[in-house]
């Protein structure tokens, strides 16, 4: 399996003598959203950490991770172009809303272009005019949207979602879910969602139950 999208090949993940995943295979085409379901503590977050490249040294990891045919498993995290959203928005508390967004824009965009990108992202999230605000002064829903816009501004080639709807109340949850899925689909980003709640998964997209550490395989192209 290779080609466009996010591909995990023969992924094995273990800590001490405990195997979390064995020879796990997964392929996500651009614009598709795969949900991996599992109880807390099964290693979902570790799988995402392995993909973003920030796995703790205590874990053992083998296998290949490819994005659009490019092997990223040996790259440092900052060169993988994998965006991630956690259940906390994790807006940098010392930066303004606008600076949080600007931090994500690749450095080859300069001057006016950067400012325009920030303005457009804010407008897209229906938060125009909030660039100079303190992130702490925003509502939970607003912060969540900024957090997604920040990730998208870094032009990721894959998007990982680590239970990002968990801390929002029911109404906000629905709104933010469609906000995220709509943009990931529109931008054609392969997206991997891990959650313990089936309700989080988008309709019509594959749901994968966290495999026993035996061999597991799914191909959604």
């Amino acid at each position: 399996m290779s080609g466009p999208g996010l591909v995990l090949r023969k992924l094995t993940l273990a800590i001490d003598d405990h195997v979390l995943l064995r020879n796990f295979e997964l392929a996500i085409a651009p614009g598709r959203i795969v949900t991996v379901m599992g109880p807390s503590g099964c290693g979902k977050s570790s799988l995402l950490a392995a993909i973003t490249g920030v796995l703790e040294p205590a874990f053992r990891f083998s296998g290949d991770i490819l994005i659009n045919g490019r092997t990223i498993s040996q790259l440092p995290p900052e060169r993988r172009r994998v965006g991630i959203l956690f259940q906390d928005d994790l807006l940098f508390p010392h930066l303004s809303v606008g600076d949080n967004l600007a931090f994500a824009i690749p450095p080859d965009r300069r001057g006016v272009v950067r400012r325009t990108l920030v303005q457009d992202a804010l407008a897209d999230a229906q938060l125009g005019g909030l660039a100079d605000r303190d992130p702490a002064s925003l509502s939970g829903g607003q912060r969540a949207r900024i957090s997604l816009m920040r990730t998208l501004l870094s032009q990721p080639e894959a998007l990982l979602l680590d239970e990002p709807f968990n801390k929002l109340d029911a109404v906000l949850r629905q709104q933010f879910r469609s906000f995220v899925f709509e943009r990931a689909g529109r931008l054609g980003i392969p997206t991997l969602l891990v959650t313990h709640d089936r309700e989080d998964a988008p309709a019509g997209e594959p749901i994968l139950v966290w495999p026993d550490p035996g061999p597991g395989q799914i191909d959604v192209r």
């Binding site: 490249g53 900052e78 991630i84 994790l90 010392h94 994500a104 303190d134």
Partner: protein
């Protein structure tokens, strides 16, 4: 690049201690060519053991070290056990914390003013209760048994150990285990001692060893509050090192080595004591006794804490009054005439020393901060694997008695023509500043949500950019507090300044010890107030910068 920090720091810390130790070991066996010792001999040891009063001096060191540590430990444990989480506990914590940054010499001088024959306590009692119309001829505060010195050290060390305990107790599991214990019918104090103490002891063990080593070998406080005939061994050693009779250097080196052996044995005995307690405590815990009362112990512990605070506050108050007084007759409680003249005279005399203090403290703190951040960042990237290494950097300098290797360093510096230089002074200060900077920064650094850095990396920022643009700004407040603590530690260093400065670079502390032992109270008052002002200033700046920088950032403002 970050992977070089542990090695660089290890070199900066181990090299001087090791070389200093060798430089003390050789003269202790008669080898010091610079003053004519070219053969290895046991003569220095013979001379040392023939010194009258040596056994008393050794005993004093052991006694003061043991008593200070034991009393401090007991007070802190009983106070934490009976008052943690209460309103009174919170209030006392707020008053206690600033005491950590007060230089020991300032504290000692303040206490000497309180306890001395013409101190506030005797003034308050005279003449109506004591009948004295002139200062009595007592040997206070330098009493034979060193009680004033033990008290003085405790005022300084109780806050330190208490804060270390508080940090250890902060973990959620410990708090929950404590609540479970309470629900099983154990009273507050007994639940704390039976459940919390065993859990946190491993974390306060090394601070306790450091306290043991420090109080058994401290020199500056001993010179002000300690007994004099004989003084504790460390003060005796210092006296010999600076004696005009050069042949005493050999005896001093042997005595310095003896001091190190004493400290090591004290730590070993304490460790054996730990094992013994652990052996018997199991049965005691299994018996399930719920303990009785404890109200008296609780009251005593609170009283002890308040006494420590009161001593510090009144000591500082007495110093401030002396610094502006012209005449202050016994037994008046306040000076009869006030003046700012002492401050003018003090400024003229101390100006240079104050500038030196600020320079050394500022420079050594900056270096220590850089090293500490490098070490912590290295540990964070390795996934906390090197926290053992961190403990080594923190506690090695604090466990080795200063007197045991500073002489060796000085000999080496003289040999290299380096003594009395700023490099030498900065390096020796760094040995003591770095541990406290790491201690202060390690907790906040570890508690910082690692996902901030992960997010920054996933957005394409390099590790360095994530550190400088995200982590350090978020940690600005603890970084500055660590810096302020490092600054005050450096400003309080006596022996390192004395040896590495070689008399050519004097700081506020060396001047203050000189004034304290020679007896000009007005100038000593001025010098002591300066000693209090400098750390206060550092902590004030550390509080103001984040308040200004983050005035529009609610999440980073203090509650």
């Amino acid at each position: 690049m970050i992977c070089w920090f542990p090695r660089l720091t290890a070199f900066l810390i181990v090299a001087p201690i090791l070389m200093g130790f060798v430089g003390t070991l050789l003269p202790a066996f008669g080898y010091l060519p610079a003053i004519g010792g070219t053969t290895l001999t046991l003569a220095p040891w013979g001379a040392l053991f023939a010194t009258p009063g040596l056994d008393a001096a050794m005993f004093l060191s052991l006694w003061i070290g043991t008593a200070t540590t034991l009393f401090t430990f007991t007070l802190v444990i009983f106070f934490s056990a009976s008052w943690s989480g209460t309103r009174l506990g919170g209030a006392i914590t707020r008053f206690l914390s600033p005491l950590v940054s007060v230089p020991p010499v300032a504290m000692a001088a303040g206490i000497a003013f309180l306890l001395g024959p013409s101190g506030w306590i005797f003034r308050a009692l005279s003449p109506w209760a004591t009948g004295f119309t002139a200062p009595p001829d007592f040997l206070l505060p330098q009493d034979r048994w060193g009680f004033s010195m033990i008290g003085g050290l405790m005022v300084k060390e109780v806050p330190f150990l208490f804060l270390m305990t508080l940090a250890a107790v902060g973990q959620e599991e410990t708090k929950r285990a404590f609540q479970v214990g309470r629900s099983l019918g154990y009273g507050r104090m007994i639940a704390w001692i039976k459940i919390v103490l065993p859990a946190i002891y491993p974390q306060i063990r090394w601070p306790l060893y450091a306290l043991l080593a420090y109080s058994a070998s401290v020199v500056d406080v001993a010179m002000i509050l300690g007994p004099t005939t004989p003084p504790p061994l460390s003060a005796l050693v210092t006296r010999w090192f600076f004696d005009p009779d050069l042949s005493l250097r050999f005896v001093a080196a042997a005595a310095a080595l003896l001091q190190s052996i004493l400290v090591l044995s004290l730590i070993l005995v304490w460790y054996a004591g730990e094992r013994m307690v652990a052996l018997f405590a199991g049965a005691w815990l299994r018996r399930g006794g719920r303990g009785a009362g404890g109200a008296i112990a609780a009251a005593l512990a609170a009283g002890g804490m308040m006494a420590a605070i009161a001593v510090a506050v009144f000591g500082a108050g007495a110093m401030i009054l002396w610094s502006v007084s012209t005449t202050w007759r016994f037994p008046n409680l306040t000076p009869t005439k006030l003046t700012l003249g002492n401050w003018a005279a003090g400024g003229a005399m101390l100006g240079n020393a104050i500038a030196n203090t600020v320079l050394v403290a500022g420079a050594s703190t900056s270096i220590a901060l850089l090293l500490a951040i490098g070490l912590l960042e290295h540990a964070a990237r390795r996934g906390g694997a090197s926290s053992r290494g961190l403990a080594f950097f923190i506690y090695l300098p604090l466990l080795v008695p200063q007197i045991g290797f500073l002489f060796g360093i000085q000999m080496l510096l003289i040999r290299l023509g380096f003594d009395g230089t700023w490099v030498a002074l900065l390096w020796t200060h760094l040995l003591y500043v770095l541990p406290y900077v790491i201690l202060a920064l390690a907790g906040p650094y570890r508690r910082l949500d690692p996902r901030y850095a992960q997010i920054a990396l996933s957005l394409g920022a390099s590790q360095a950019r994530a550190l400088w643009r995200i982590k350090l700004p978020i940690l600005l407040r603890p970084v500055l507090v660590a810096a302020a603590l490092g600054f005050s530690v450096s400003a309080g260093q006596y022996l390192p300044t004395l040896f590495a400065g070689a008399g050519r670079i004097s700081t506020l502390i060396t001047e203050s010890v000189g004034l304290a032992t020679s007896g000009d109270r007005r100038l000593l008052g001025v010098a002591t107030v300066w000693q209090l002002v400098l750390p206060l200033l550092a902590f004030t700046i550390a509080a103001f910068i984040p308040a200004i920088v983050f005035r529009h950032r609610r999440a980073l403002r203090p509650l």
